[in-house]
Symmetry: C2
Subunit: 355 residues, 2 copies
């Protein structure tokens, strides 16, 4: 096991602990037993996850001289609350049935309604409850960050980055909706979505937060490193996500095979496939991409086109190239040697993952 | 014009100014022209509103010795961002078409999609964009509060109240969903919804925030005053809301006549009507309440039942009683005479309003 893999285990267990403690502290605040399903859903959502965002944040923190500090793990864990909130709302927006192999939050609440035989539309109840659950976790993420116990000078230095990240996340998701609606398939637009939707928010900003928290200032070298490493790992991370959304193993991703195809996601994979497709292939893509009832053979047909046009290979090449650039960006950064190695390993892990 | 009415004009213009300035500061952060509709929708939503929450907050602040301070108005204005966020999400959850006589946010985005002839479901796009808009304003409310420029000692003293209010709002809305789903019609459950859904969050907590910000501590007398005045004005406020939701003039409320009846809201008005209804009347209520296609004559029939059973009169009596209790709660509170008068006038205004 490498150092950074061992560290990832520690990060995971510290983040888990912080999240459990935070939710426990919320419980007495909510003076109504009927709210229990909301809290239970939050707990279940928070129990999973790769904890990559806290890991990028951690290596930023350590890289700029931060030590092992429970307060830091609390701050980093708050990123998982933000992410859980985004996933719950995402599933409502995409009308997704599953998340990590389990019913998505809105389906879970819908079933609660159905089982109890309550009045009104179970579907509407499920969506409404999931919107509120997402809001609750969004609020909690800010509260947990601010109340982490990190020194005020650290929090003050990182506040603008933190605020910016949250606004950028919502605007990035809106851009993603727009690109989907525009039905655009240019490389540029696919790259932009990859960068805004997940690149900045999953890699660049968590890393920047960690660096600024430890350095207590937003030094120019921090922005240079985050922009370059963050952009490259972030895009490669999203490209891997796109590939997993089409070719991933449902047993590992927890999502039905080819779910992104049913949702009609305009990814680099699709843009590349369309750019190299024959007119017959292009017609098939246009006719079936985004069909919510696309069956297994339809998914298989689209996969074949993506492979035959060389789109899959091209995206794998892109990931490799972005990964190389990410690794070079670490060369001159004035961070600890330990963090440099760990961030290199983390970049590899984030872009070669299978879930 | 009374002193407090004149003050309300000042509060409104200061709150408007703060909100405009805050949104202006967000603009350069969002580096994509396509996001403009999101910002425009936020601005439009923020331009309206009675500013009652900032007003309760203001008189708490002044009552405990706070002075005229632009930083205070910024903090108080952040409550309007929270409220705007809740309204946008509320309209998605209730599938409401109108808000203040204009299309609700999700309908507005739905039309944007339809007019542009984009791909995919316009309705789903509208709802998704509205969820993101609500999230953006929820995030901004926290950012604006924290960045108001009030002294750290004030903000630190009020932080727990602020955090609590936000969690309570989401849990209160979930309780409201549940009561609707349970189809309960007891007086107790109607009162509880009135208190949790709007009482605490619209009156008690804004007032407490103002008091604690100025006093820089959460003194026992503050909690006593807020619990009593806040509970009474809050419930009376919600009872007035319930009456307006059934009998309000669409030209003034900006909502179609009888909208609450179509949504099947389980209010005190309905609980009282059912408790006193003949079996024929009760059957009519059960058969038509919550019917989304309820027409004008159906609305008229339900209104008649609410009047004939004495439910309307009983609710007006309740408002009067709660208002009296609210006014007595001010008697012994150690606040300035000016604030005492203003809070009394504000209680009257909040519970006798026509919109």
């Amino acid at each position: 096991m490498t150092n950074s893999a061992a560290a990832l285990d520690i990060i995971r267990s510290e983040v888990d602990r912080s999240l459990r403690e935070f939710v426990e502290r919320q419980r007495p605040r909510i003076n109504a037993p009927e709210v229990a399903p909301l809290i239970a859903a939050a707990e279940e959502f928070l129990a999973g996850g790769k904890r990559l965002r806290p890991a990028f944040c951690y290596w930023g923190w350590r890289g700029a001289g931060g030590g092992e500090d429970p307060a830091f793990f609390t701050a980093a864990a708050s990123l998982e609350l933000l992410q859980a909130s985004a996933l719950v709302h995402d599933d409502v927006m995409d009308a997704s049935d599953l998340r990590r192999g389990m019913p998505s939050a809105h389906r879970r609440f819908q079933r609660l309604h159905e089982k109890a035989g309550w009045h009104g539309s179970a579907e509407q109840f499920g969506e409404s409850a999931a919107i509120l659950l997402g809001n609750l976790m969004l609020i909690w993420s800010g509260e947990m960050w601010r109340g982490s116990g990190l020194p005020p000078a650290s929090l003050a230095a990182a506040q603008e980055v933190h605020d910016h990240m949250r606004t950028e996340l919502m605007c990035g998701q809106y851009l993603d909706l727009l690109e989907q609606a525009h039905g655009e398939n240019s490389f540029d637009s696919a790259l932009r979505v990859a960068l805004f939707k997940s690149g900045k928010y999953s890699v660049e900003q968590p890393l920047r937060l960690g660096l600024v928290l430890a350095a207590r200032e937003r030094a120019p070298w921090i922005d240079r490193l985050c922009e370059e490493y963050g952009r490259c790992v972030g895009i490669a991370f999203q490209l891997r996500d796109d590939i997993l959304g089409v070719f991933g193993d449902p047993a590992e991703t927890g999502k039905p095979a080819g779910d992104d195809l049913r949702e009609g996601k305009r990814t680099m994979l699709i843009a590349r496939a369309l750019a190299a497709a024959s007119s017959v292939q292009a017609e098939t893509v246009r006719a079936t991409l985004g069909d919510p009832d696309l069956d297994v053979s339809g998914v298989e047909r689209l996969r074949q086109i993506i492979e035959e046009t060389g789109a899959l290979l091209a995206c794998e090449e892109m990931i490799k190239k972005y990964l190389e650039d990410a690794l070079s960006s670490l060369d001159d950064a004035p961070i600890t040697a330990e963090a440099r190695t760990a961030l290199a390993e983390l970049a590899v892990a984030a872009t070669s993952r299978r879930t």
